[in-house]
Symmetry: C2
Subunit: 292 residues, 2 copies
Amino acid sequence: MMPLPDRWLSSFLVRADGQLTLFDCGEGTRIAWREVRWSFRRLGAICISHTHADHIAGLPGLLHAIANAGRIEPLDIFGPVGTAYVVNGLRTIAPVLPFAVRVTELRGGEQFALPGELSGNCVAGKHALPVLAYRVERSRQPAFLAERARELTIPVHLWSTLQSGECVTWEDGSAMPAQVLGEPRQGLAVAYVTDTRPLAQIVAFVAGVDLLVCEGTYGNDEDEAKALRNSHMTFREAARLARDARVGRLWITHFSPALEAPAQFAESARAVFAETTIGLDGLTDRLTFSAE
Amino acid sequence: MMPLPDRWLSSFLVRADGQLTLFDCGEGTRIAWREVRWSFRRLGAICISHTHADHIAGLPGLLHAIANAGRIEPLDIFGPVGTAYVVNGLRTIAPVLPFAVRVTELRGGEQFALPGELSGNCVAGKHALPVLAYRVERSRQPAFLAERARELTIPVHLWSTLQSGECVTWEDGSAMPAQVLGEPRQGLAVAYVTDTRPLAQIVAFVAGVDLLVCEGTYGNDEDEAKALRNSHMTFREAARLARDARVGRLWITHFSPALEAPAQFAESARAVFAETTIGLDGLTDRLTFSAE
């Protein structure tokens, strides 16, 4: 929550099919990003949790970086009410860009498309000004039952059409996808939650995600009153959220500047939710569909 | 001119009597600043060369840092025409501060007061949009001629009043400062010049400064045509400016991102002006009045 020489501000970058979505963009995000070596040009959307400076001040610099990288395709910015006003203000120093910037203000409950065939959802949190938590999903097609397709004597060159959900006809017959597709399969989901209390609606909203990136402004349990007062969370509260929502894994981020060694408090989170990682700079992982 | 993981954007911090003036404030300046350990609270003025993002995008974050440090005294921002518009835009994410922010737009030629008894001057440069070069001076009082004061039987407790430039009277007589002060003495001067060509008026403007902080976007002499086209300078052009203006020392800064190892081209500057230093992150020096 404060940029330090050895710790960047929190942000979260999601890549799917080579396309990127960024969550939050505080001062220095474009600098930290360079360590990852993913092209700025591939950034198709930015989801802003709220318009406090530590979550958006890096926007104009990032817009210039994207322009320098050669992007000409539109860029979507999603955020709570008030985002357009702030983006317009910050664009006084990025007025001319080779790509369109489209701002969509959300109130929570909307569903919207994100780059790389991802689906975005949001819910309102509780903070000093409007804040959104985000959930991103990648759906998975049902398995294609090749044996059934052979029984039905469907020509092989039509299988991919069926798999993509369309009906087919051929000389000797016709078939519908439902005849050759298996049960629905679980996709992948991640969530990004910061600068809010762990409200009941947020527990429900992030239920079952594979990865929850969640703020933990305070490490020490004794700061729970402060977390309540400032609409933040302690590590233990973030872990309770992860446990109650039955998520796969938890990454804790967004540390108070007073929290010099976050790892020191990892155990208070792991006591509640074992699969907790302290989200230090550059933490990266790859999520893949299960083998089934 | 581009923030990199191992190289911050150019800015220049001047301290006098514990009071601070900052020149330019690109993205990350508040982070780099922390390495210096001078209090944000002491920042009384920011001089912006021009409103390109790499020279001002860090302003909102810095304003928050100053507020967190407890400043309540006003902060002055000086810059070329257009600065107020940009400051207003950037302040959409720093709308409420415990101190007043006063913006003064300059066209070149004005003189203005800076913190720590410094005097500021500016001159217009040449770039894609209005740009100012700055010169800062600290004047020096003439020596106090104690022997003359004794001859004139001036009571010792009145000496400091005379030294500060006021007349004094006592039982047996009166005296004027001119009677006990020596010749005018040279003060100290520094200049900050970036994002402009080395125009004749800039040579005149920075003449004789003790320290010239000047841009050198390109190290290689072969990039002189590019420097001309983009209104920047090569190292050698910056050195010529330093030589022609007979400055004390030159610090070169504001490197192109393509210039990965600026020190590699230091010799092309030193061949023209020996007292050249490549201005890497954190370069610091102390200027003091001469012994006379």
